[in-house]
Amino acid sequence: MRPVSLLNILTFPDPRLRTKAKPVAAVDSAIRTLVDDMLETMYDAPGIGLAANQVNVAKQVIVIDISEARDEPHVFINPRIEVSGPPVETDEGCLSVPGFYEPVTRREHVQVEALDQQGKPFSLEAEGLLSVCIQHECDHLEGKLFVDYLSNLKRARIRQKLSKSQRVRA
């Protein structure tokens, strides 16, 4: 049997993914535990990014690790982003939309202001995959999924295939 991740990752089209996350009021031990659990779930899945809404926690928390060795975790709490630069197209996938990869156009650069796991403010500039991933995860916090950028036809097809896999297979 395929090992499963620890927290339950909600799957599109679960409407809980359509809930906007609330800012974290204080980075306390509960938030640090959430971050640890999210990292473990993301590594286990495996994925390169996870937003708290995906595990049914409506809080502005994101974890990302795009490194090959899986040893460079980034944690963003209450992130605010500003995008700039030319549009770039990347094939995106999502742990909440398992098995589908589709091209999505985003901006090349991103400037992030956020809190780290200790509650300390930091800022970061990113481009390339990290920039795409940050934009993708920040969309989650707004209740938005990458499939929202696709044509209605493509989105309907993904919805149909995923819902088929959740039928009783006689």
Partner: protein, 421 residues
């Protein structure tokens, strides 16, 4: 007969759902004071069919909702449930649900609720499994050909089983009382077991207040009956995770003079157990509030029988607790199986050599059942699993598994482990 469904019933159901879906509160806890049967039906139904209803609603939701408006999303589920599963006429279901936004204090949501519900098909989704992918995957991997029937069974309504208190009334006499009250029932496997044709509030059962009868799944009664048959009077018995007390009381009703100790780590739950014992007229057993993963509560005198009705995922009780499908996480299953192993290893020391430990769960997942027993047996040289046979269910490698595909019972697991003399 179907009573009138008021707007406030709908709003209340939406609030219940928001607590369960959004905060992860348990269904039992959230509806403990809810008495309106229609509100209960909507709350249970929306959880039972959460995945297909949620999918239908999400598709028609034009933009994301704020976290604090989860009650609006839940009201949409309530509306969808009425349209697809309750045969409430479409115009009534929509109009009344739209009006219920006022009872939620969110009049701005009227247009949104109206727009979504008007676009919803009234036919329910065909053969939706209504399970989260991780749990469906586990069930399919474990049960193969049997999985479709099991998934469908999990989406049915739970039956209501009764256990006649043989200390207070003869089984035949209680059956006569049910007949007199015009309550239709079937017999189950044990003389004291009853299966109601239609569930009803327990307080309306004849003699309920006087403790003539208790509500208990008839599969759970088979577990109690199996243990009872292997006991003799005067034996020292430990029920290590005793609350809410069903199996304990069942043993007390056997007529055997047992030296029973009920252990539970939650004092509040032990309190409920004591109150229930009072209603049933049971006394003469000891209660201890302590953690069964330790031994500081133990006087060192071994037990002739130790019952470990271990905390588990509840995956065998999805009909009764459909919130498990929405809220349980794979981590909780893993944690449960770790706890189960720890309980076995610790409590084994309290079993008298030559005597028995009975291990049971209300789970259908091997990782909480046979696999827990298997790792225990591998590490414990003086432990041996002895086959269990019950009138329904199937033998597993080390024990016995009941499944809700036999509609009378929940999914229970039982293993008997003997300690070598």
């Amino acid at each position: 007969m179907r009573g009138h469904l008021s707007q406030s019933d709908r709003a209340r159901a939406a609030r219940h759902l928001a607590r369960i879906i959004g905060r992860g509160d348990s269904l039992d806890h959230v509806v403990r004071r809810e008495t309106n049967p229609l509100c209960l039906e909507m709350t249970y139904g929306c959880l039972r069919h959460y995945f297909s209803l949620a999918e239908a609603v999400e598709e028609r939701l034009a933009r994301p909702l704020r976290a604090k408006d989860l009650d609006v999303l839940c009201l949409l589920l309530v509306g969808a449930y009425q349209l697809q599963r309750m045969r409430v006429p479409g115009h009534a279901a929509i109009n009344e649900t739209v009006s219920a936004v006022r009872a939620l204090g969110k009049p701005w949501a009227a247009a949104l609720v109206n727009a979504v519900l008007r676009k919803l098909p009234t036919r329910p989704a065909d053969d939706a499994s209504e399970h989260p992918p991780w749990l469906q995957g586990k069930i399919e991997a474990l049960y193969g050909d049997q999985a479709p029937a099991l998934l469908r069974a999990n989406n049915q309504r739970a039956p209501m089983g009764l256990r006649i208190n043989c200390r207070k009334i003869e089984p035949a006499a209680y059956r006569a009382l049910l007949n007199d009250a015009g309550i239709a029932f079937d017999d189950a496997w044990l003389p004291e077991s009853i299966l109601l044709r239609k569930p009803q509030p327990s307080a309306t059962l004849p003699g309920f207040r006087d403790g003539l009868v208790a509500v208990q799944d008839v599969g759970a009664q088979l577990v109690g009956g199996f243990i009872r048959e292997r006991l003799q009077g005067g034996r020292r018995v430990l029920d290590a995770c005793a609350a809410p007390g069903g199996k304990l009381f069942h043993l007390l009703e056997s007529g055997l003079q047992l030296d029973l100790t009920a252990l539970d780590n939650a004092p509040a739950r032990l309190q409920t157990l004591t109150e229930m014992a009072k209603r049933l007229g049971h006394e003469g057993f000891a209660t201890i509030a302590a953690d069964a993963c330790g031994l500081d509560w133990w006087d060192g005198e071994p037990f002739d029988c130790v019952l470990v009705d271990a905390p588990c995922s509840g995956s065998g009780t999805l009909r009764r607790h459909p919130d498990i499908k929405v809220n349980r996480t794979p981590r909780q299953v893993r944690q449960a199986s770790q706890l189960q192993g720890a309980l076995l290893r610790n409590l084994w020391r309290t079993v008298r050599p030559g005597c028995t430990l009975m291990y049971c769960t209300c789970s259908i997942l091997a990782e909480e059942n046979d696999q827990v027993v298997e790792s225990f047996l591998e590490a414990q040289a003086d432990a041996r699993a002895v086959g269990v046979e019950l009138p329904t269910g199937t033998a597993t490698r080390h024990g016995w598994q009941m499944l809700p595909t036999e509609p009378a019972t929940d999914g229970f697991y039982l293993a008997r482990i003997d300690r070598q003399p």
